[in-house]
């Protein structure tokens, strides 16, 4: 369908955007890359009175190396992040996930901050952010605050951003030496939302897993860390038996949603399979990167 009518605002500074958000609160939606919001408008699932287009705010775009990692401006396009050498060198899990987002034309417009603020739990970036404990920088009328990924994702398409706040930057930590990563997903068609996805990051030191991070996409209304499996893996040497047990623990307490793409049980089976695959691939990747 055609988009419903809305009042259109195109601020050019973060301050102007925050003023507009403070004025319109829940009646406003923020338009970043538009690759999720415009479909929602077209399907009339979203009917904001005011659309605040932040594409004209130049300061929100850019990738920069920081002391402990990488800071990515919220309006950084996904294809720009995909082509970023800084990201490839310092946050390999993010680099592995970026090419899997939608299709090429989607990544031309889609943004890092837009995807994370939209917070679709079946999408790649929320799982990566949750796995790596990314930090979300928001600005509002009362200043700036930094929100950890564990607190950012609150529920179905819902984050802890307040209505008068704007997501301005997302920070990812630098991968430690010995890190191996893998992003696994099973989808009906290449580029579709994953039926189940998994972000995996392992650190191998002297052949032993010193740190394991696993975050699922598509098994709940938020990205989900597999804490029990992570605890099991830490301190162990990679083996097929270990990964089987990790898959059992990781899927023991998830209750994935059912839809026409797959039943809950099917998703659980797929989840266990991609845990094994992901761990194998990440362990292999750690050895390759050494």
């Amino acid at each position: 369908m055609k988009l419903p009518p809305f009042e259109y605002e195109a601020p050019t500074t973060v301050e102007e955007a925050i003023d507009l958000l403070a004025e319109h609160l829940d009646e406003a939606s923020v338009l970043a890359g538009g690759q999720s919001l415009i479909p929602l408008l077209a399907l009339r699932l979203a009917r904001p009175e005011v659309l605040i287009d932040i594409n004209g705010i130049a300061e929100l775009s850019g990738v920069s190396a920081t002391d402990g990692g990488v800071a990515i401006g919220a309006m950084t396009r996904e294809y720009v992040a995909e082509e970023s050498k800084v990201i490839a060198d310092t946050v390999p899990l993010l680099a592995a996930a970026l090419p899997l987002i939608g299709h090429e034309a989607i990544r031309s417009r889609g943004t890092i901050g837009g995807s994370l603020a939209h917070a679709d739990a079946a999408a790649e970036l929320p799982a990566v952010a949750r796995a790596l404990d990314a930090e979300f920088v928001v600005r509002g009328p009362s200043g700036m605050r930094v929100i950890l990924a564990a607190q950012w994702f609150e529920g179905y398409l819902t984050t802890s951003r307040r209505p008068d706040e704007l997501l301005v930057e997302v920070r990812f930590p630098t991968a430690r030496p010995g890190t191996g990563v893998s992003f696994q997903e099973v989808a009906r068609r290449h580029g579709d939302f994953a039926i189940v996805g998994l972000a995996v990051s392992l650190v191998l030191s002297g052949g032993v897993i010193s740190d394991a991070r696993l975050a699922f996409a598509g098994v709940s209304d938020v990205p989900v860390r597999a804490a029990a499996a992570e605890d099991l893996l830490a301190g162990e040497r990679p083996s097929a038996e270990l990964f089987d047990e990790a898959a059992r623990l990781a899927t023991g307490d998830i209750d994935p949603p059912a839809d026409l793409h797959g039943s809950s049980d099917y998703r659980k089976t797929v989840a266990a399979t991609i845990v094994r695959r992901g761990l194998r691939a990440a362990a292999g990747n750690a050895l390759e990167r050494q």
Binding site: L3, Y8, P39, I106, R109
Partner: protein, 156 residues
């Protein structure tokens, strides 16, 4: 209504679209460039793909007002002399379409892709075109056409 000026297929164009008007509808309704096809209207089918500042984008997933000051290429701008471009001729020769509805989107997506990846092989081309839906051909002839165009481009 917002007054905008943009470059479409090399020509400066102006218009006053309503904010809610997508770039796809603006191209079709306001500029009479009906070669850009509107299929699903929510970013799934790829039929409305155009090239914005050198990158393939879905023109149903951006507002016309967001194209102000930008450079847009549509299917009408691929071979401005009225003939067929290399890719179009190669797709013609490979029977890369049946009903033709999806063809402009495939041509624009493949044009953007081949300009960045002139040496692309079949697998990369399949990946690049994976966001465009065709309900007639079964895709094989489209891939053949794009591969043939890449080959002809390299021979020139």
């Amino acid at each position: 209504m917002t007054d905008i000026t943009l470059t479409v297929n090399g020509a400066t164009c102006t218009g006053s679209p309503e904010a809610r008007k997508t770039l796809a509808d603006f191209l079709r309704d306001d500029l009479d460039l009906t070669g850009t096809h509107v299929g699903c209207e929510h970013g799934v089918c790829g039929a409305c793909t155009v090239i914005l500042d050198g990158r393939a984008v879905r023109s149903c997933l951006m507002l016309a007002v967001q194209a102000a000051g930008r450079e847009v290429t549509t299917i009408e701008g691929v071979a401005p002399d009225g003939g067929l471009g290399t890719l179009q001729q190669a797709m013609w020769d490979s029977h890369s379409f049946q009903c033709g509805f999806c063809t402009p989107g495939f041509v624009m997506q493949a044009t953007a892709f081949l300009s960045d990846h002139p040496d692309a092989g079949e697998q990369q081309i399949r990946e690049a075109l994976s966001g465009n839906i065709c309900r007639c051909t079964g895709y094989q002839s489209i891939i053949d056409g794009v591969l043939l165009a890449a080959e002809r481009n390299r021979e020139r």
